[in-house]
């Protein structure tokens, strides 16, 4: 079982950047008025920020990282680890983290790597950084997490278009010998088809069939380079697995619900997250949401929620439980103590 604790890392700050361009789901022409109202009430997503062509996830993460490093007054020469978590990298190769090492002006002594995960990616990224920091060989690290999910969705698919928003985040983490973080990481590739972009990789290379639009269901017209989402399967998976993963971690860490200040979930959709919250019997005020204004922002959703919803609350010590669940299928939770997390205002690029 991938359930463990790590000594030695502390989050110092988090920054988030989203594109200025915004779309309101009330303006989505492929839904009836009743469907729009039901969507906003049930799924909870009103607006989403959508990157224009030319803006990449790496660009958003870079802006967030620059702001964060500047705010924290970190010396870039002291940053020795950079991890980029995304499923929308700049290129197949090289890794975006390596390109960003250069663009951010970090020294050549910085270790840089990509992690290709979505909804669970922030927690997975934290686990890798925490583990490396715990060796004592690294002192300061930046975790970049985000996605331009809208590159893979199309207006003609009403099952995905109103859900996803674009965002990039940066989290500054430093070695701290006294802190302890708990993780529970899981995966189930049998559910790979629940959220998938079928073509474009080596399994299904781009072909003449790739960009042929097909009507999968009424209101769902898409091609094989678009994101295909089976919402019912993802719902079943999330409400079945996330609560168990979280409960198991709390028992392992011997941390009861009363001791945790906030449960910050991946922002999938309101109905799904509320079902998880109710199954865990968590009070509403402990479960913040950012999806109303930003939609599902993939691996950026947990840090974006902290920045946009908790902000000043993070200036005093807190115990947080973070949980991401989705594409893969992959899911992961963490329990961590914070002292003072500096969060600049969300950047609109």
């Amino acid at each position: 079982m991938a359930i463990f604790s790590v000594n030695g890392s502390r989050i110092c700050g988090i920054a988030a950047a989203v594109p200025k361009e915004k779309e309101h789901n009330l303006d989505y022409e492929r839904l009836t008025e009743a469907e729009k109202k039901l969507l906003i009430k049930t799924i909870g997503i009103s607006t989403r920020h959508i990157a224009p062509p030319g803006i990449t996830t790496a660009d958003l993460c870079q802006q967030a990282a620059e702001k964060l490093i500047d705010t924290l007054k970190w010396d870039k020469n002291e940053i020795d680890l950079l991890i980029f978590v995304s499923q929308s990298p700049d290129h197949f190769l090289p890794a975006s983290a390596v390109i960003l090492q250069h663009k951010l002006g970090l020294p050549k002594t910085t270790a840089a790597l990509d992690i290709m995960l979505g909804c669970s990616g922030y927690v997975y990224g934290l686990s890798v950084i925490s583990s490396l920091l715990s060796t004592g060989g690294f002192k300061k690290a930046i975790l970049l997490a985000g996605d331009i999910s809208t590159h893979g969705i199309t207006r003609t698919d009403k099952s995905t278009w109103p859900l996803f928003g674009d965002a990039g985040t940066a989290t500054a983490i430093e070695f701290n010998s006294t802190s302890k973080t708990f993780f529970n990481l899981q995966s189930d590739g049998s559910g790979a088809n629940a959220i998938i972009i079928p073509d474009g990789g080596l399994r299904n290379p781009i072909s003449e069939k790739t960009f042929v639009n097909e009507e999968a269901e009424k209101g769902i017209i898409r091609h094989r380079r678009n994101l295909w989402l089976n919402g019912l399967d993802v719902f079943n998976f999330s409400v079945r697995e996330a609560p168990v993963n979280i409960r198991t971690l709390m028992e392992y860490a011997e941390v009861p619900e009363e001791q945790i200040d906030y449960f910050i979930f991946h922002q999938a959709n309101l109905l799904m997250n509320e079902t998880i919250r109710k199954k865990l019997k968590l009070p509403v005020e402990k479960v913040p949401y950012s999806l109303g204004a930003f939609g599902n922002t993939s691996s950026a959703s947990i840090p974006l929620t902290i920045v946009s919803q908790l902000n000043q609350m993070t200036l005093t010590p807190k115990k947080l439980l973070l949980s991401g669940f989705g594409v893969g299928l992959s899911w992961a939770s963490a329990i961590l103590d914070t002292e003072k997390i500096i969060c600049p205002e969300v950047l609109y690029i």
Partner: protein
């Protein structure tokens, strides 16, 4: 599990647009005006939170009426 009348009233409370009292055990839920996959999610969430019973998309595909959904959930409680 509670009787079907209470079950129906909970569905009516969760799904907008249904006139209270209009839903019957024999109602084919897909014939509810504006029925969509979002309504299916609402039913699945209701089953999870109220009865701790998981309903899958496949389960719903096999059901035609409100009574059939009720029977399915009852059989798993």
């Amino acid at each position: 599990m509670e009787d079907i009348t209470l079950f129906i009233s909970k569905i009516e409370g969760e799904i907008d647009g249904i006139v209270p009292g209009s839903l019957k055990p024999e109602t084919h839920f897909r014939e509810i005006p504006e029925w969509s996959s979002m309504h299916a999610l609402v039913l699945m969430a209701l089953s999870e939170t109220e009865y701790d019973v998981t309903l899958t998309g496949e389960d719903l595909r096999k059901c035609g009426t409100v009574q059939e959904i009720y029977n399915l959930i009852s059989s798993r409680t």
